[in-house]
Subunit: 202 residues, 2 copies
């Protein structure tokens, strides 16, 4: 039995990460959450904004694609009035607590706030409301997010994303293989299941 | 029974169009082939080259993703020594004969030449070899490709792609809905099957 977990790299502003994380509770492989920030990853590619804003025709398509995907999967979705939305506090909380059993629930609530309820997840009050819904101690979470080592850990994880060749989110990592997009989750799972049976890198 | 065909918009230089077209023979919906050129479509987005060249980290990922997808689907694949490869003659032949029963076979052979055999599909000799393998009269095909109305038809089809909101290939079109990428073919099929049951545009 393969026990190496699949890494799920995500960012709270990413629409397809929302679709991806909604599938994780039914995922048939162990996984670990790898929060990071897309902004510096895009900047490393020479992009000053989300590709969906840099290329509006792609952005319009993505919005419709999200509507259809979420309708099919019965995931609530409403286009947020701000895109992409800053998520520094939520991301720092996530990385400071990346082994906690409540983290997946916390992340899903943050995504729903952003993409189903159009709430300003860049505001501490909204993150506080989410924490309270989950009976998590917001003051302690906020303090952990503000620690220098947390800030540094997020900077390092984001730099690591670029080093690994990650350029968007969600990205699933299985060994040295990357699978980009919520539509590659099944592929990543199949790869995880039969690791070693894939073709050599060309 | 829904009889409106799904439009398959493709370009011969597009890797994922190759994956897509390889699936078309088993596609459970009627389809029509819509050849166009990505170059002008990318230019309309401000891109001077394939996004996979403009963003090399994405290009490296795509190459590996293609290897894995093709291995899984048992589609022969070898990275072409030139990417993207010009395909003006083949595309003009395709648009001049877009209702011919042999067109799908012709297109599949052109894709295999480019992405499995690393042959220079931008050279007339290679297109001639492909035509001869299929017992098609190359001289007549070439003459049809050179007609001013064929050239104009391709310009118009390419402009139409941009007008429709197409920004990459393959794109499947079902009514007014676009589905981008070989990984959206199942989604397009489901949409085609239950047309009218999808959410309103947001």
């Amino acid at each position: 039995m393969n026990e190496i977990p699949i890494e799920f790299w995500f960012e709270f502003a990413s629409t397809y990460s929302y679709v991806g994380i909604e599938r994780l509770p039914t995922f048939s492989a162990p996984f670990v959450l790898r929060p990071f920030l897309l902004g510096p990853v895009f900047a490393a590619q020479g992009l000053s904004d989300s590709p969906f804003n840099v290329y509006p025709v792609k952005g319009r398509y993505m919005r419709r694609d999200m509507e259809r995907l979420c309708a099919e999967a019965e995931i609530p979705f409403r286009w947020p009035s701000v895109f992409p939305r800053g998520s520094l506090l939520a991301t720092r909380i996530a990385i400071a607590h990346d082994s906690e059993p409540w983290l997946l629930d916390f992340c899903r609530r943050v995504y729903r706030a952003n993409f189903a309820e159009d709430r300003a997840i860049d505001r501490a009050e909204v993150i506080q409301e989410i924490a309270e819904e989950l009976h998590l101690p917001f003051a302690a979470l906020r303090a952990s997010a503000e620690r220098p080592e947390t800030k540094q850990a997020l900077r390092e994880q984001t730099a690591r994303a670029s080093e690994l060749g990650i350029f968007g989110a969600p990205t699933l990592r299985v060994g040295d293989e990357l699978f980009w997009g919520s539509d590659r989750m099944d592929h990543a799972l199949r790869f995880w299941t039969r690791q070693g049976a894939m073709p050599a890198r060309g």
